[in-house]
Each structure stands twice: as C-alpha cells, then as structure tokens.
Symmetry: C2
Subunit: 237 residues, 2 copies
DNA sequence: GCCGGGTGTATGGTCAGACCATATTTGGTC
DNA sequence: GACCAAATATGGTCTGACCATACACCCGGC
C-alpha cells in the first residue's frame, strides 16, 4: 500500500516491522488456519479478497500462497465453483520430495546419508510390521509378482517403490511414510542405475521374499536383518 | 510475453504447454544448477536478467524464486555487491520445520506420529553415538548443566533441544539431524506445555544424565532404552 | 416443468511498468 | 590517503490491466 505511486504517508512503521509483506500474509493465513480450525478441503478467500483484507498487493498475496503451495498445504484451482480458488490440502510427500531432490542437487546431502536414513526408517517399519501383524502383506506380495513381470528397470523400480512403500505404510505412521516416499522419489534415478549395475534382479527379489516372509511370520528381528541385507546389496557402501 | 496488453499473436503453443510459467522457470533454474554444477554460495542471475533470459515476466521469476526460497535452496539479499541477489544456500531444516508445522496445523499429522518419528531417529542416533564414540558428549553435558540453570520452561526447552540435537548430530547424518531439528522446532510449544504439565524437571534431567552416561560408556542398548524411557515420560501416549 | 445452450462472472495466471529501501561501488573532495 | 556524496544494482512492493478457465445463471424451446 505504500509502494508504487502514492506513498504520501511519511512511513507506516518507523520502528521494527522487519518482516516482508508476503511473510506477514503467510503468518496471517497460518493464524487463520489455526484460529478458525480450517482443515483439508476448506477454501481460503480469493487472492483479491485477501489482498484487500490484509492491505497488501495481490502480488504479495500470491507470493505467500506460492510458498504455501510449495510446502504442500494449499492447492490452487482456476475457474469458478466450490473447488476453485486456494484450497487447503496436505501433500507433505510432494514437498519433501522437492526438498530432498533440490538439496541433493546442491550436493549438501550425500547419497550415503539418504540411504542410511532410508535404512533407519525401513528397519523401524519392518520391525513394527512384523509385530503388529502384516496388514501390508497382500500389497507386498503383489509388488513382488509385478517386479517378476517387469520388462524394464524403470518398471522394476516402480514396483520396488510400491513394495517398500507398503512396508513403510504398515507402520501406520504417515510422517515416516511421507519421508520414505520422498526419499524413494528423490533417488529414483539412482535406483534404476543400481538395478542396471547389478545386472539381474534375482538377488533383490530373494531379499524381498525374505522380508515378506519375516513380516508374515511375525519375526521382527529377521525382518530387520533382511531389510539391512537388502539395502546393503542394493547400495553397497 | 503474451499476457497483459498486446497479445497480437493468436496463441503461442496451441497444443501441450500445460506448465505454468513459474514452473518453467523453476525447471530451468534447477536444470542450470545441475548443468553448471552450481553449489552453495554461488549466485543466480538477477530477477530482471532471468526474466529476460527465460522470456517471462519478473513476477513469474519471483514466484519461482519464492518457491525455491521456501524449499531452503536460495536466499535473497538486497543491495549490491557479491553477496546481493539470489544466492544458493541449503537450509533443509528451516524448510522442514515449516512443512511440519503447517501440516500439523492442518491436523493431517498427529502429535503421536511426530513423537514416534522422533523416537525412531533418537534411538537410531543414540545407538550410533554409543558405538561410534561420543563426539557429542561435551555438548550434551553442557546442555544438561544449562537446563539445571534454566529459570523458565522456555529456557529449559531451548537447552533440551540443544541436548537432543547434539545427540542427533553425533550420528554424522545431516539429513536425520535436519529432520530431528525440524521435529523439535515444530513441536516446541508442545514441549513447553509438557514441561509445565510435569511440574518439575528432575525426572527429565535424570533421563538426560542416563542417556549421557550410556553414550559415554559405549552401551548402545542402554542408550536406546534410556531414550525410549525419556520420550515415554515426556510424551505419555 | 424440464432440459440445453449461451452468457455472465469469479478465479487464478501472467504481464508490464513504476517506485521504494538497501547496500555496494564509484568518484570527487579535502 | 581518508572521507563523504552521488550513481547504481538489487530485491521488495504496488498498481492496473488482460487472458484462460470453469462454474453459475438465465432464457428459450420443448
């Protein structure tokens, strides 16, 4: 409001007020989400309306919404109707994937750290799945069959991801599942290279069957060990 | 280029071209990072220059940069000189913290899931620290002393975070450390409430000392158990 | 009364051009 | 050489416009 043409006012806030306009918008929106108890599916006011309410330009509102979209909490639809506008969503996976992929691209995270983190999560999930009864057994078995039928490394990796995601999902923890998916998606190309390097997938499939059997038999220790062996084979350190 | 006033052209790309302009910018920047081998500290071209190079408006460039800033990979500085402009950084912690905090606000992640994830990471880190020799012992001890001296719950929690961060950092894995920090920051308020609820911090401090001792003695199993007991006390389920 | 199509309109997406605040660089002055 | 003022480059913001999209509404035909 005090930029651009006019600005007859001397200064709006002579002291403090270090936050940029779009950050103010960000805070206000977050505030409103908490105060009004908004949740997934609820709509935010339109960009023009928000701009007027918060007394900032539409550009600043858009930058704030862009940040929220990047974090996976809003999704914008054009057009009209109940589904149009900025709708609250929750896609931590997408956001996490982007975050990991870009930080890997900057070489600030090493592949070893990513694989180690994956090992941590999968061992934890495998132990839980073995103890809590394998709700994911069916899906895991289907993924193994699909990997047998896969014609290309890309296809194999796609079903491999499904297998490990089923295992992670069995933990019942959406946060670890989201991290797991982000890790897998971020290193998908690396996984394809690993399959090509190994030459054949018999060993990997044997590992998968061993993991599946351990979870089915409720043997947590065996499941954990099988996961460790599997990752050591796929990503030798 | 084809919006706004003019647009004498019928249509630039009648088929395909579903991506929004700022996404195109996003891809190009990521591409350039990979192609030119850019890394932390390197500068991106200015917003105006990028806009001209990519043939889009400065607004679109700004939205793309805002997204990258949200993911923690660029940081913008105003002014002039070698440090001004969009500089590549790497702050996965900040981005992760925002991501978790906002998704918690939307109630799509439960506190239990966050605490369970934290337990997973801390047990893993404690085991590693105990085995690999405790490089973090000094910092952990200092944090315990600082917690003894803390006058307010806020202060106590701040040093508590330092304690647990030191433990996580001992794993040598920056990714798990970043996740750990994000988890702690995202639930900071909740932690303060927990301290207030417990009334006194003697039990928590006893746990901290027990964890420290186990790491010092190289007893991984004891360290893991101590972490589990500590979190169970702080966040009863 | 019901249905189909045309029009209205609200929405996000984009563009262009301007001005502001900030911080360095540059050049002049003592 | 030291110091100060002007030039300049940068991100940050604002304004106002137009475009493409997709639902909402109304109106005529049946």
């Amino acid at each position: 409001m005090n930029g651009g043409d006019g600005s007859r006012e001397p200064r709006r806030a002579p002291a403090g007020a270090r936050t940029r306009a779009f950050e103010e918008v960000l805070d206000r929106i977050e505030e409103r989400i908490a105060a009004d108890g908004l949740t997934v599916g609820d709509r935010l006011p339109g960009e023009r309306q928000l701009a007027e309410q918060l007394q900032v330009s539409r550009s600043s509102v858009r930058e704030a919404l862009r940040a929220l979209a990047t974090l996976g909490v809003v999704s914008s639809q054009v057009g009209r109707g109940p589904d149009a506008g900025a709708v609250l969503t929750s896609r931590p996976d997408t956001a996490l994937t982007d975050l990991l992929r870009l930080n890997l691209g900057l070489s600030t995270l090493s592949m070893r750290e990513v694989v180690d983190t994956r090992l941590m999560i999968e061992q934890w999930a495998a132990g839980r799945a073995a103890r809590d009864g394998g709700a994911a057994l069916g899906e895991m078995a289907r993924a193994v069959d699909a990997m047998d039928a896969a014609a290309t490394p890309e296809e194999f990796v796609a079903h491999d991801i499904a297998f490990h995601m089923a295992l992670a999902a069995a933990s019942g923890n959406r946060l670890t599942s989201a991290i797991m998916r982000a890790l897998r998606d971020a290193v998908r190309r690396y996984a394809i290279d690993a399959v090509l390097r190994l030459g054949d997938t018999a060993g990997l499939q044997a590992d998968h069957r061993r993991i599946h059997a351990a979870v089915r038999d409720g043997d947590a220790d065996a499941a954990i060990a099988a996961v460790a062996d599997h990752l050591a084979r796929a990503y030798p350190g």
